[in-house]
């Protein structure tokens, strides 16, 4: 299989998840698409090197998180807390009202806390892996996770219907 074929197969399989992760990080469809396109361009250029790593997903994930880091630091693209919610599928378990609340709470998190939340709870990374990816200490990751959970508590509590918090 050629490099182009391998890359295309990867894109077909993984692009939607990458887009969703980028969207969770930046909260904007255009920027999420920009981040994914940029990440995939860089991935193609580094395909041989990425393929030799343990996980191509991990390689792309780092590019996406770094892109979000850069975006958040550009003063002309500072994120603003908003109520805009993404286009959504109708066949999911979460109600629009609950999604609104969680989405707003997620967007209100500081960028670093949101990155940690996405890496740990969407990508399923451990504290140590998250710390390594973000060049933070494990203690920082733990404290930032706790702070994020505290901020998200009310949004999470709204639909728990008895689930322990």
């Amino acid at each position: 299989m050629s490099r182009g074929e391998e890359f295309t197969a990867y894109v077909v399989q993984r692009r939607q998840q990458l887009y969703r992760a980028a969207y969770l990080l930046c909260g904007d469809s255009q920027r999420a698409e920009d981040i994914v396109q940029t990440a995939l361009m860089k991935l193609y250029c580094a395909w041989n090197r990425a393929r030799e790593t343990e996980s191509i997903d991990a390689y792309v994930r780092r590019i996406i998180v770094n892109s979000h880091l850069d975006e958040a630091r550009r003063p002309w693209r500072r994120e603003r807390v908003g109520r805009a919610i993404p286009d959504r599928s109708t066949s999911v378990e979460i109600s629009l009202e609950d999604a609104d609340e969680l989405w707003a709470a997620l967007k209100a998190l500081p960028p670093q806390q949101r990155r940690i939340v996405v890496l740990r709870h969407y990508w399923g990374m451990s504290v140590a892996e998250t710390a390594a990816d973000l060049a933070l200490s494990t203690g920082t990751v733990k404290s930032q996770t706790a702070a994020a959970l505290a901020s998200l508590r009310s949004a999470l509590a709204s639909d728990t219907q008895g689930e322990a918090l």
Binding site: G4, F7, T8, V11, V12, R15, Q16, Y19, R20, A21, Y23, L24, S29, E33, Q37, L40, M41, K42, L43, Y44, C45, W47, R49, R62, I63, N66, L69, D70, R73, R74, P75, P86, D87, R88, S89, V92, E93, I94, D98, A99, L102, W103, L106, V117, V118, R120, H121, Y122, G124, A135, L136, T145, L149, L152, R153, L156, T160, E163, A164, L165
Partner: protein, 267 residues
């Protein structure tokens, strides 16, 4: 269900509710191929430029040698200031005439006293502001730059530090230069478009920025006439053909580093 489990569940539900826009994998492939072509072209152009510069430099070398500076040999007289820059192994601070480890232009005035200690401090200050975990910036290795003029002696001290990321092949660079004459500074001369930069600085200090493809440089002009410039380039052109993916710091971090009073001209 714990808070963390609940968050994981809800986050996946939220993500699943996001409908990605339609896409064609071939477009991603084409974009990737375009970027790769651009990178290869840039590398080829860079290589040609380097070869050209080396060729021209080699052709001019005999005329810029020490004997050409001797008026009795028809060399230039001391009619005006002659700025010069050089690269010197500053491990030999106390012996300015020791051999140079890199560079092709003789440096007639040597390193100012204390240059080695100053460069080590520069390296530490850069790490403190830009790489606190010390995962990317190389340690000071004893090599630095000096610049100046025959009349004024050394008026610039600086160094280029490698910036790498574990697991990646790319190599970027942080170039720091502390000078007394901005218009002769290597970093000033390396970039064309310097623009004023709004920054919170002590009274009498100003900042400028030069952005370019692959990086940016900032300079802080201090009230005492010292200019501290930092150039962050994703490609360390002397050492690598591959750029680092990106720097994880912002313009404000560069300005903060350049404003650090520990970046002072060695005395």
């Amino acid at each position: 269900m714990t808070n963390e489990d609940l968050l994981t569940k809800r986050l996946h539900q939220l993500a699943d509710s996001i409908v990605p826009p339609p896409h064609d994998a071939r477009s991603d492939l084409q974009r990737g191929r375009r970027l790769q072509r651009r990178n290869r072209t840039a590398i080829a152009v860079g290589a040609v430029a380097v070869v050209g510069a080396v060729t021209v430099g080699a052709a001019m070398l005999p005329r810029s040698g020490p004997t050409a500076l001797d008026p009795s040999n028809g060399g230039p007289t001391a009619g005006g200031p002659t700025a010069s820059t050089g690269i010197r192994n500053l491990e030999s601070d106390e012996a300015p005439d020791a051999k140079m480890t890199r560079g092709s232009f003789p440096n007639r005035f040597g390193a100012p006293p204390g240059a080695r200690a100053a460069l080590r401090e520069y390296n530490n200050v850069l790490a403190e502001h830009l790489d606190p975990s010390r995962q990317h910036l190389e340690q000071y290795d004893g090599v630095g730059f000096t610049g100046g003029s025959d009349e004024a002696g050394p008026n610039e001290v600086g160094a280029k530090f490698s910036w790498t990321t574990t697991g990646q092949n790319g190599e970027g660079m942080l170039h720091v230069a502390v000078s007394r004459t901005w218009v002769n500074s290597q970093i000033y001369l390396a970039h064309k478009e310097w623009r004023p930069l709004d920054a919170i600085l002590p009274a009498g200090w100003t900042a400028e920025i030069a952005k370019y493809d692959g990086g940016m440089a900032v300079v802080v002009h201090r009230a005492d006439g010292v200019h501290v410039a930092i150039d962050a380039n994703t490609l360390f052109g002397n050492n690598s053909l591959t750029s680092v993916t990106e720097f994880r710091f912002a313009t404000s971090d560069l300005v903060a580093a350049a404003s650090d009073k520990r970046l002072s001209f060695p005395s």
